[in-house]
Point group: C2
Chain length 354, copies 2
């Protein structure tokens, strides 16, 4: 029996996960897929209940599951807490404990939502980017890290660090992904300043020798941030570290104008974790206003990458496109004056379109 | 006698500096300003001549000068060299040795060039951002840093580090700048993950108490990268560290579509350094195709911030707007089909418009 764990998390998390669960259960019935869905707590929700953003029982649930679906974590309620007690720690520890080192973030244009992009129409034509972000290393997890007071003066530090094995395995993921796409890989670093990313460039270049059919290019991170805005259609796969990937993947998603539509996968050796790339949007939580489509598309990614059910993934993706074609829009993707549906209604519409 | 040192550097550096020097000498004559311009070598040019990207005599020239004007450094010719022997090291060491801790990078829209922005016209209306980037700390200079091989495995690391004095002095610069502008300051960090930037947020908040008339906001760097694309007009002053500032200031400049127009200042306690924000563009070097206007506007910034000649700065800025109004365009800012002038002709035109 296949098991999937849902961690709705905070803010709009519970609403979008409910809609996504409805869709998953619909395809499951249709396909007579033997699948158990269980729910657990992470983030602020887990802090409130167990004073721990990733309680042992949640980690255990995740370990035993075949795949994890996460809503979103965080909110102003927990902002004042000490570092180790913040909702984000639940997410970061999940990534680290499950060794989810490969974060795949597609940024593509939905033809129906082209007008939502902040870029001029001629620039977004054909934009279809996959950001491959390393997720368990870099300055996010590097030691030493900390803060101290020396002679009355506060000081704080973090360590950016990579070893060649960490770089090699994420590079392999990116090159393989490029092979399935348009065979172009842009690796992003700051090799003109940082030793860490000089090693990054070296190892990526070495891995590239095994993929002579993939065109490899290196860009400095500042230039990459510019090129994304200037001419995003030039990119196929972008490979980068955890910190630069955090920044560039968000920039890339914003270019599409449809952050509420974008899903992501975090993969390792075993089970994967799937989440919308948007945050917990505490300002609209509980108001049935959030867009559940990114979470629904995350379910599709889960079916494809973790549950070996590519045809069901495609069925969900087609259903999402169909509701867009029908003109259904949540507030975030509606053009001025367009009628708007709520979170639940959007979920129902996708289920009905299946 | 006031002395200014020009470091033309590499690629298009010599051409754009020649045009800027022509403009400076014209206002100097007109205003009978006692001013000596000397030239020196940094970057690849200095490597070629002295095997050192910042030879002692160049550093000495800079120390004795009242202001420094830099063209651009770097190029593929020097890419294979070991870290300490790269053109960029000349620039980084100049910043560090002269203690130029405050990098001011304005990103504004020139009305004449509005069509060059990659953003939809309604989004760039009124964009006028000043990025204040810390320039002598952070992971750029943090120790320890290095690379090693342990049991046959390569590993490399860098240290992100700030103390409260470094943060306080750059925050002061940013708050004062905001006071002279629209009184809004957005400080960018990754306080949900990095201890270093948690201290950043803490100290910036403390400094803010002395500027109750300036509205202070904090954004995570990933969100800032998105907001810049989504709605750039929301920003007035953006304050951030060296690494995030490198990325965000380039992203912000690209939004204007006129990178060839943007100047920057690097300030400390004493003399300042001024440079165009664009790079050395080796692909068009020596072809009289580069846009000298960013360098010319850097001369204006130099007159204002280091030489106490605000009226002359304004005269140059007005002359630049005039040549744009006359329809003069270098290749980088010309719309399709528009006639194009060369680097030298553009410099002459500005001098004539003075
Ligand atoms: C919430 C935060 C810790 C996280 C990150 O920085 O990785 C988020 O921004 C993301 O990109 O998933
Ligand atoms: C050339 C490089 C070292 C430099 C930097 O990263 O600071 C450049 O990108 C800049 O922003 O001035």
């Amino acid at each position: 029996m296949t098991t999937v764990v849902f961690f709705p998390g905070d803010g709009i998390g519970p609403e979008i996960c409910a809609a996504a669960r409805r869709v998953l259960e619909t395809v499951q019935e249709q396909a007579e897929l033997p699948l158990t869905v269980v729910e657990g707590l992470v983030g602020g929700a887990a802090l409130d209940a167990h004073d721990d953003p990733l309680p042992p029982e949640s980690l255990e649930l995740a370990r035993r599951a075949d795949a994890v679906l996460l809503g979103a974590v965080g909110g102003p309620k927990w902002d004042g807490l000490p570092p180790a007690k913040r909702p984000e720690q639940g997410l970061l520890r999940l990534r680290k404990e499950l060794e989810l080192f490969a974060n795949l973030r597609p940024a593509q244009i939905f033809p129906q939502l082209r007008a939502a992009s902040p870029l001029r129409p001629e620039l977004i034509e054909g934009v279809d980017i996959l950001v491959v972000r390393e997720l368990t290393g870099d300055i996010y997890f590097g030691e030493p890290r900390g803060a101290e007071v020396v002679q009355g003066k506060r000081r704080a530090w973090n360590t950016m660090v990579y070893d060649e094995d960490e770089i090699r395995r994420i590079a392999e993921v990116a090159f393989r992904a490029a092979r399935d796409r348009r065979r172009r890989l842009c690796s992003v670093d700051k090799a003109n300043v940082l030793e860490t990313t000089r090693l990054w460039r070296e190892v990526v270049t070495e891995v590239g020798r095994d993929y002579p059919d993939v065109e490899l290019q290196h860009l400095y991170v500042d230039n990459a941030a510019m090129q994304l805005v200037r001419a995003p259609a030039q990119f196929d796969v972008i490979l980068t570290g955890n910190m630069f990937g955090d920044i560039l993947s968000d920039e890339a998603s914003q270019l599409t104008g449809s952050i509420g539509m974008l899903a992501s996968a975090s993969l390792g050796q075993g089970r994967g974790m799937y989440e919308p790339i948007h945050g917990s949007a505490p300002d609209i939580a509980g108001q049935d206003r959030a867009n559940p489509l990114a979470t629904i598309l995350s379910v599709a990614m889960m079916l494809r990458h973790s549950l070996d059910q590519a045809p069901l993934a495609e069925r969900i993706e087609a259903a999402v496109l169909r509701v867009l074609d029908q003109g259904l829009r949540t507030a975030d993707i509606a053009a001025a004056g367009e009628p708007v549906v709520g979170t639940q209604a959007m979920g129902e519409a996708v289920a009905a379109a299946l």
